[in-house]
């Protein structure tokens, strides 16, 4: 069985890498393709097929940051990385930005393995208790975000959060767009396009990039990973809470100048999210991600041995995917330097519009335009852009408060 698992894991890394590099392609899309191919995989051990799925999901969480940092193309789990990532990119340190997210991914898996005996005991307790308070936790997070704005900007912050929240309530609670594609126009409009438009308006010049990944302090890696780990824990056990909400929580407890630590945490959250989804499947028998749903369906019952196997596959995947991510980020860094930044921005804008039409049609384009208008207000009024996360935070608050809209 070992050769099959190894082969499928490597194929998963390749699939997750491709999905990570193409904006708008989520690993769940590839998982659906794998389901279509299941009749062809009948002769293979189910554990190998599951290794394919989990390696794809985890490789994707690392590679995902490359388009986010270098092209400004976000997905829901990387949207918050755009600003700090872009800031470092414009300082010529795009490679360092990607490296920091990789450090977070590696740090989190190390913590996960070290703490797994404790986690397996405490997850059921945490799950059954925290879920009753999640809306209050989110309301507290949003209040802190708004009230830490200075003076009159508090009102602007409230306006941005409310508009983004209403946008989320309208689009996520309706059948306007197919659920698997609804986040693409939303996050592209709220975070991606405003970043590109403002860069074009300010005639930003793409600086030459530093050719190495920089040195990450041990303390920074450790603190960032610990924050990412615990934020990822929330995502892994709570329905309706995604990497984006967890990232917003980490952003609040991280000082503004700690851009690097925040990037480590964001990298950690995404990997932790994938790992805790596996742990939740074993400890509380709940599927908290597309990959977990697929694993549950293929394996039927999920044993302790399956858990150990998937942790081993995850560890191997993080190692390989980290090398692949760093290699590809070097290629991206060289590539973007050769072309004028304005031309790159315009090409990406065109590509985002095209992908939106292909994936979501004219209604998706309408959602993209409205999201862009909302997404522009935050930078133009000088408030935190993470307030645009209201797009998913407000619907989750309503869900937990039992408010039906």
């Amino acid at each position: 069985m070992f050769p099959e698992i190894l082969l499928f894991t490597l194929a998963g890394v390749a699939g997750g890498t491709i999905a990570g590099l193409i904006p708008g392609v989520h690993p769940n899309t590839l998982i659906l393709i794998i389901f279509g191919l299941l009749p062809l995989l009948v002769g293979f051990p189910p554990q190998a097929v599951v290794a394919l799925i989990i390696s794809m999901a985890i490789a994707n969480t690392l590679v995902d940051f490359i388009p986010s940092v270098f092209l400004g193309c976000p997905e829901d789990d990387t949207a918050l990385s755009i600003l700090p990532g872009h800031r470092l990119l414009l300082e010529g340190k795009g490679l360092e930005a990607v490296f920091l997210t990789v450090v977070g991914g590696i740090g989190v898996i190390a913590l996960f393995i070290l703490l797994s005996p404790l986690l397996l005991k405490t997850l059921p307790f945490l799950y059954s208790n925290i879920k009753y308070y999640i809306h209050w936790i989110l309301i507290a997070i949003v209040s802190v975000m708004i009230f830490t704005e200075r003076g009159f900007k508090k009102l602007w912050g409230l306006l941005v959060f409310s508009l983004a929240g209403i946008l989320g309530v309208i689009t996520l609670n309706s059948t306007l767009l197919q659920p698997q594609f609804v986040f693409f126009p939303l996050f592209t409009g709220l975070f991606g396009i405003p970043t590109l438009l403002i860069s074009l308006k300010d005639k930003v010049k793409f600086p030459s990039q530093v050719r190495d990944f920089g040195i990450v302090k041990k303390s920074l890696a450790l603190i960032g990973s610990i924050k990412g780990f615990f934020a990822g824990l929330l995502v892994g056990i709570l329905p309706g809470v995604g990497s984006a909400q967890a990232g917003t929580l980490v952003q609040i407890i991280t000082r503004k100048e700690d851009t690097r630590e925040f990037l480590v945490s964001l990298g950690g959250i995404n990997t932790a999210n994938a790992l805790f989804a596996i742990a939740a499947l074993y400890t509380i028998s709940k599927a908290r991600s597309g990959a977990a749903v697929a694993i549950e369906r293929i394996l039927g019952s999920f044993s302790f041995n399956d858990l150990l196997l998937l942790i081993a596959v995850s560890l191997f995947t993080v190692g390989i995917a980290a090398v692949v991510t760093l290699f590809l980020s070097k290629k991206f860094s060289t590539l973007v330097e050769k072309v004028s930044y304005n031309r790159i921005s315009l090409s990406i804008l065109g590509m985002l519009l095209l992908l939106t039409i292909v994936f979501t049609g004219p209604l998706g384009l309408l959602v993209l335009l409205v999201s862009t208008a909302v997404g522009l207000i935050a930078p133009l009024s000088g408030v935190k852009r993470s307030l645009c996360m209201g797009v998913i935070i407000l619907p989750v608050i309503f869900y937990y408060l039992g408010i039906g809209l």
């Binding site: 309706s174 698997q180 309408l366």
Partner: protein
């Protein structure tokens, strides 16, 4: 001045756009799908199905469960309590359900977003 102008335009476009999205989302109608045509490939997709309500059950927490029987097949439908609050859950005959295809314990089901009594 230029930034303020763009910001104000963005606010106007946001409010007008949200109003437009709201009305479009209310008026949009999915094409009706036959229950028998729904497969595991449709998980995560929105569908509209119509049929007869069978074995309806309302849990203590307000979640509504029933089977929707079409001409040739049936499928389980779940209306979570926060969605159920929007509708009068006294329906018991022919309805059309709009919702997302999901899977629970190996069986396909519909997580309802909208119910229309026929």
């Amino acid at each position: 001045m230029e930034e303020k102008f763009i910001r104000n335009i963005s606010i106007v476009c946001s409010v007008a756009g949200l109003a437009l999205l709201f009305f479009v989302s209310r008026s949009i109608e999915l094409k009706q799908t036959d229950i028998i045509q729904i497969s595991y490939d449709d998980i995560g997709k929105n569908v509209k199905i119509c049929g007869e309500v069978v074995s309806k059950f309302v849990s203590k927490t307000g979640h509504v469960f029933f089977k929707l029987k079409g001409e040739t097949d049936g499928i389980d439908v779940v209306i979570f309590n926060n969605t159920a609050k929007k509708f009068n859950s006294n329906f018991d005959k022919e309805v059309c359900v709009t919702g997302t295809v999901d899977e629970y314990e190996g069986k396909l089901e519909i997580i309802a977003k909208n119910i229309q009594v026929r």
